[in-house]
Symmetry: D2
């Protein structure tokens, strides 16, 4: 895999090391090439002595599956060099968006293309993933927001317009590059907001998903926050609703997620905590209707590195390889 | 003061000990009566040997100023026994709401009355506080939300309808009573939501403030979150807006807070972090307009125990005593 | 299992749910009897609807393996009622100590007996565990300290006298009982010490282990600390040493742990972080000699709930059941 | 002051802004020259618009007091250019050590000299500080360790040999330079050790202080740890002791600290938490004797940025300026 020393790459390795059908091949990274993996990922003792190779097509050739966990824009040139019989799974954003104009607006470069989107819970998506050799892993926030609203949209309870999202993320979502505002000293005992006002690059991906779920001209006010924790996203999602009560909403969520192996609607009155799914591929959601405010309120939690990135990638890989979807994955969180 | 061993009471003492015009008199608490204060508040060495008395009218009599930091419903009977020339400052909710029906709906008991509201930044409020012997200290969330929207409402930029708030609070806001869900083990590395769907008792207080600021039939979808930190509230507040750009909104906030000693509009592009005001009476806010979503987005931070409770109480006390409003208070946060 | 709603019990369940050879039987607890498990352990979705039964011998009868995660003193009466063909694994302290006088001195009650000690890494211990139906799971601190010194003692590099230990633990080690000093508000951004001066109940267990490893008249100055995290113990262990250099010490540790599946000596220069083994059964250690101070310094990390309690319990269970020792366990930590 | 945008410099400014006898003059930094202070220190609103100047002698000339908070080795050349009537206070290590050989051994460069040491609690030190224009502010760990042992040494209860120290520090002690191991993602929910085995640069400073307090040939095994918090140091300090009981030790500490404005011996049985002194100039200590282990055990806490750096600097400055020693300082911590 490529980009093995970052947080997304490290999480792919953590899950791959425990996956019964995977053998870990070459590991590459750009700036850390030539070092031992154990310097970067001391939590993976059995891989500690592996040498980190440079991220080149040669070093990635000859594998059945290649995971790319690279900076935005770096996946496309690598992917073009890999053989057509290689399953390529891009954990970055390069191939998520359908509309090239949105890509250019938010990422400022030319669009590389669109790959099947690795969110199996989307209606009809499992069949697409079973038939592809290329998977675009969703962003962590979009996964949470999409799963928090999916039942309401597919059951026609909301329109998808005037959605508001405030989502608090653990700091691993910001990556491992050493920047002053990501120092522990800055983050302990503090909450902050960033990318406010529709600036975050996950906005077009969220809107795209709302459209796929049936919304017409969806809009979203999306505010991400950094929380003093390393993993996890809790999203507070609201949507205008009228004439539909909490019981009907609850029934829709129960219906949508009854057979989903990783999605769980909590019992009435129990609101989710992000630690319940820490380190797991689980997604937990609770929902109600605030009659006075005229809004549905859903709160969803997932681990941004697992269900939000690497776990979702493995889940989709399982489908593409014809394995049982849950192979090597668990919905059990490491709590407390 | 009454309720000295809880978090709100302890913060009143922390500030009072540094206030040049205050001498600390009797300290009372109910369940901790008979103990030394140092067992409960080791951060206040000069008061460590003070004995905690029982919370009775006798023990509170004879002071110029009495702070009440008691459970909801416990302030009214005590207050009734204190002399008319005593300045009584209630840090609880008993006297905040104007509408008895709202009180009964959210608190389930009979309404005790309404006292002047200790938020000096409200238009016209300083004069009322200068003339009273009874102050109802605002709730921590309502202080944040109100100050985050005040300029937009007083400048007529929003209507106050369809407001959404998602606010992450440090856990001291939940008090010092030992409950399993407030254990550190449950909270480290986790975000959770609670009181979702319009259930939180601060909802009617927020709506009351929006009305006082000019809103007609305001509504709010309010979702509180517990963040893994001891102090601080970051509130993400959105409101429908149309035909007004970010520059006009910014000008309104700059205008409202130009002369406020504790409120600060951050420079363009800088979004607030709750630690910037930790331990201080400061409030910091940033605001923008998300044109695509049609919403104003304001993010405000304060320390729930200081500006959100005890600092706001001292600020209002200063006004009621005829002291300079900033006496004994600071907008400097303890960061990092 | 008994005591399923506490932290130790919950961790046994987390691991048991992923263990390929275990089926989870009755779940009991005393004060939480009659509730659903999901209220207490939302991280275990597949067990959420399980009813919590009362902790009685009847409810625990008929299982091949029974885990006890009960308050000190509560295990013995339950264990006496279970059949001789049941493998009973006590996660509490009741059966750890050999010397009844030490038990009475530190626990203040009559000694219940001594069971084979569930630390497979002790010389000769695997054979004992393979032949028993009763296992006393070690304490979390003693596991860390013992493994941090084992190679030095078995290789005769230190005498075991004048050991000093300062060990920082996550707060889950203090259990789930709601006590004010364990509230998140008290713990965030703070380190504290407790049980200082040889008072902690793990002191006699540490000394017993040092003796088992060959020390004569060992002494230890043991200082536990509470760190602002939910899981993990980092122990700083020093011992007088003379005439032995860092390279010899390193060779001893490499020798002892070369074939241990869960113990890892880190490469030279890399010092352990507790998060490297979070949620795993791994133990990581680094060691050096401070020539100027005349002391060996070892730093060991483990997860107090996993290798320090429930993981160690499963590891020993595997041996007692004749399963491969690593079944259902991993040394991979959930980091970052 | 020089180095205003780092953590030590920022803390000097936080305290200086609240000091009644100081007016804040030029602010300089090297890499951040030309920016506004508010970008770096949003917790200091009244200084937000101040421009950061380059760190040159010209920009620092003409002030009565100059604080230097610069990287090791950078203070000496600047100090040489400042006038003899300027009070220069170096928060770095350049002028702390007496023995040039120790300096060169631990810092690898030529020794710049020795200035009066800014620890007023040392016997006879207040007179020296009252008569100097140059102050070397102690390191944060040495301040804690020295104050934790001072009474035992000055009362002749211990020899100062075979001391062990394990000290957990908040991460601000490691500075604001963005390094991967200081990222919040790495630090949340984790304890780690570093500089183990006598390698830390504070070792010679600790030994120097022990000697000044009467120890002959002192030795110390010093192990620093990084704790998941931004501020605070908790030090566990042990020393061999014989023939002296806990009561005698306690009496010595009570005697030494009875009149110290910032040092507090806690009541029997109460062990310190670092948050009790967060943001304050306080030092709290508890002490006992572990008879079985033959060691005195002292646990001391302070805020590494305040009493450990900037607060100690202001305290010494007050003495050098002839002000009351406590001016602008407080022993009240910001808790919870």
């Amino acid at each position: 895999m490529a980009g093995c020393t970052g947080y997304a790459g490290g999480e792919v390795l953590r899950l791959a090391a425990a996956h019964p059908e995977l053998t870990i091949g070459n590991l590459t990274a750009h700036s850390n090439a030539g070092t031992k993996l154990g310097e970067h990922l001391p939590n993976l003792p059995q891989l500690a002595d592996r040498e980190v190779l440079d991220t080149t097509p040669d070093n990635l050739a000859g594998h059945d599956v290649v995971f790319l966990a690279l900076p935005h824009g770096a996946s496309a040139p690598i992917a073009a060099e890999l053989g057509a019989d290689t399953l390529v799974i891009d954990c970055g954003a390069d191939f998520r968006l359908i509309d090239p104009a949105q890509w250019t607006k938010f990422y400022g470069s030319e669009h590389a293309g669109t790959w099947p989107y690795g969110l199996p819970e989307l209606p009809g998506q499992r069949a697409k993933l079973a038939a592809t050799k290329q998977i675009a892993v969703p962003g962590c926030y979009p996964t949470n927001v999409t799963l928090s609203l999916l039942p309401a949209l597919t059951h026609g309870l909301i329109t998808g317009q005037d959605i508001t999202v405030a989502a608090a993320s653990g700091t691993s979502g910001a990556g491992k590059a050493a920047k002053p505002h990501l120092l522990g000293s800055e983050l302990f005992n503090s909450m902050s907001a960033y990318g406010v006002g529709g600036m975050h690059r996950h906005v077009p991906e969220i809107l795209q998903n709302l459209s796929l779920l049936g919304a017409t001209d969806p809009t979203v006010s999306f505010t991400p926050m950094l929380a003093p924790m390393s993993r996890g996203i809790l999203a507070v999602v609201t949507a205008p609703i009228s004439g539909v009560g909490a019981a009907d909403v609850r029934a829709a969520y129960a219906d949508s997620y009854a057979d989903e192996p990783f999605c769980r609607l909590l019992p009435p009155g129990q609101w989710p905590a992000s630690k319940s799914v820490l380190g797991s591929n689980g997604f937990q959601v609770q929902v109600t209707v605030d009659e006075a405010a005229g809004r549905l309120v859903a709160v969803g939690v997932l681990d941004n590195l697992t269900k939000g990135t690497a776990g979702g990638a493995i889940q989709s890989m399982n489908l593409a390889l014809g394995l049982p979807e849950t192979t090597g994955l668990s919905a059990i969180g490491v709590a407390p």
